[in-house]
């Protein structure tokens, strides 16, 4: 049974305009085996949440009436986590995280939760969960352990010109659609800031093709309203050394395989 609870500490976002991002509680908190009301430790996605928050703060600084904001939902995806619901909410309040809603769901119904809550991007450290969500038409990205050391001051989103993270399912027209609309929203958010000192950085990596594929990807993204900040064309060079320097919070590759066509 899913229960969706609003976080009354946080101002609710305009559902029509906000970019709804769901992150699994397991990625955000390390609840260990403690019980009662113990505050959970921070998980790998903690800096990611801080970065999302930072973007919202800066957006509101530019325009206090801004409605294009990140609407962050914390979701549980197993009955085990579901049982930790009070620790999860109290930890969220403890750290002052800007989470608007909690979805306490289990393995069986978390997909339903994502759909009913209009989630546009689902972030998880679990590959199976990401695959399931993708297959149900929800844009998903797998969070890497390395993101624990990503900067909280700037949200870094990486677009893969060709798939670095192999999606387990090929992009269907529907999933391409959701990917494009999310990236268009990101692009719009990015436009609120200048070239310099933006709290959101959009990074493009093309790993196999040469400069033409990089240029093509830059222009295609531009046509969708996404202005890339940093571009790296690897042309077959080993990805590890370069990507580890880029430190993205997450990679969007689903639906973008056509960037290099």
């Amino acid at each position: 049974m899913v229960s969706t609870i609003q976080n009354t500490d946080v101002k609710q976002k305009d559902a029509a305009r906000a970019a709804v991002v769901a992150v699994t509680s397991r990625a955000v908190f390390d609840c260990g085996v403690g019980g009662g009301d113990d505050v959970c430790g921070v998980g790998v996605a903690f800096p990611l949440l801080q970065a999302l928050q930072r973007v919202n703060e800066r957006l509101l600084e530019e325009n206090p009436a801004e409605s294009l904001l990140f609407d962050v939902v914390l979701i549980t995806t197993s009955s085990q986590q579901q049982q930790q619901s009070s620790r999860i909410s109290s930890s969220t309040r403890h750290y002052g995280l800007e989470v608007s809603r909690f979805c306490f769901s289990s393995e069986e119904d978390f997909i339903e939760s994502l759909l009913t809550n209009g989630v546009q991007l689902f972030l998880t450290t679990d590959r199976n969960e990401a695959t399931q969500a993708s297959q149900s038409g929800v844009l998903s990205a797998l969070l890497d352990q390395q993101i624990a050391s990503c900067p909280p001051e700037q949200l870094r989103v990486m677009f893969c010109g060709d798939a670095i993270v192999q999606p387990d399912t090929g992009p269907t027209p529907a999933s391409r659609q959701v990917a494009q609309s999310f990236s268009t929203q990101l692009g719009e958010m990015r436009q609120r800031f200048g070239v310099f000192n933006s709290p959101l950085s959009i990074v493009l990596v093309t790993s196999r093709g040469g400069r033409e594929s990089c240029s093509g990807a830059l222009q295609k993204l531009r046509s969708r309203g996404v202005s890339v900040d940093e571009a790296y064309c690897l042309a077959g060079a080993p990805q590890g050394p370069i990507v580890s320097l880029l430190r993205p919070h997450f990679l969007l590759s689903e639906g973008f395989r056509n960037l290099e066509e």
Binding site: E230, C233, G236, I242, L245
Partner: protein
């Protein structure tokens, strides 16, 4: 002008990663060798292309206007910059290498390493296309320091117009130099069949240990010292490894009986004199197993006129005095900001400015 024919390039070895044949075939046409096999030369956008006018917009009107200007003009190719002839010469060496060794991965790999914003990258790529340069690897870091990426590409030489970035690279053990456009209208006619690279000796190929002696104790002490330690190899300087990588490629031509027709030629242009201090330099090179094709000992004479005759695609020196002299007579020069020479100008110790807060 040498035409680069994509169909003449060697197929990349099948390492099992390519499952899709069509993709593999497409990749083979453009893929440069992996960094660990190649001699990687990283050039900045302002060394590859002439961006003087654009730079002015950046300095006078700010970053936003600069990026907007570049985007607006992105279909207009940029003019060649100081590293352009060097890059063309590298491409020519690659063609010759591919003729002799069709399957080899030991080639020059030219990377565009710029901290320009990615949107400017479109104009840069369009310009690369216009001149048909073989540059497939690009980093447009949007303002971040390139040093980490230089290391990730195992860069053998980094050329930039920004001396701060060059200094940072040298500190990290990467051969690097700051390039200057020639000032004169009379363009030296450079060879299009042979890459010609000229190096100063002290504080470029070798450490600055001897230069320290000159600056602190004078020439006479220097001569005595060099004679005494003639047989003790000098320590290596920031560009020694680059010379070494050139030598490795040269030997590939020698192995195929192409010594007389080798498309790489190296020059040592040093203020040392053959009679007294020169021997140590030659012996040091020998001890390193390195060859230099021509060693020119000037015994303090100006380098400009000699370089005018040599016509190198690039000349490396640690002293701005020599760089200026070379530039005046049309030689493309690159300053290596290393060693004690940086603290002196025309023999006088520069007053150290107060540290910036």
């Amino acid at each position: 002008m040498t035409e680069i024919n994509p169909n003449g390039w060697a197929p990349v070895e099948n390492n099992g990663e390519e499952k899709d044949c069509a993709a593999a075939k497409a990749a083979n046409k453009t893929r440069p060798p992996k960094p660990r096999y190649a001699v990687t030369i990283a050039v900045s956008s302002r060394t590859l292309f002439n961006m003087v006018a654009e730079r002015k917009i950046y300095e006078e009107e700010g970053l936003e206007k600069y990026v907007a200007h570049q985007v607006e003009h992105e279909n207009k190719p940029l003019k060649p910059g100081p590293a352009f002839p060097f890059v063309k010469a590298l491409m020519n060496v690659n063609s010759r290498l591919r003729e002799l060794y069709p399957d080899s991965k030991e080639l020059f790999d030219i990377v565009l390493m710029t901290n320009n914003h990615a949107q400017v990258g479109v104009r840069l790529i369009n310009s690369i296309n216009y001149y048909d340069l073989t540059i497939e690897r690009i980093c447009a870091t949007g303002g971040k320091s390139p040093t980490g990426y230089l290391k990730a590409y195992m860069t053998n030489l980094y050329l930039s117009k920004d001396s701060e970035k060059v200094i940072e690279a040298i500190k990290e053990g990467i051969a690097a130099a700051t390039m200057f456009m020639q000032e004169t209208d009379k363009e030296n006619q450079l060879s299009d069949t042979q890459l010609r690279v000229a190096f100063d000796g002290d504080a470029v190929l070798f450490s600055d240990e001897s230069e320290i002696i000159v600056k602190k104790h004078g020439l006479d002490t220097f001569f005595e010292h060099e004679k005494e330690f003639e047989n003790k190899p000098l320590a290596q300087g920031p560009l020694k490894c680059f010379l070494e990588s050139l030598g490795k490629l040269q030997r590939k031509f020698y192995a195929k009986n192409e010594r007389m027709n080798c498309p790489i030629r190296t020059f040592l242009v040093t203020a040392r004199s053959a009679a007294s201090s020169g021997a140590r330099v030659l012996k040091t090179l020998r001890s390193w197993g390195l060859e230099i094709d021509e060693a020119l000992f000037l015994a303090g004479a100006p380098k400009g006129p000699l370089l005018q005759k040599i016509k190198p695609h690039i000349f490396f020196d640690d002293q701005m005095f020599h760089i200026d002299g070379a530039k005046e007579l049309g030689t493309i020069s690159a300053h290596v900001p290393y060693g004690i020479g940086q603290k002196y100008h025309k023999g006088k110790l520069i007053e150290q400015p107060a540290k910036k807060e």
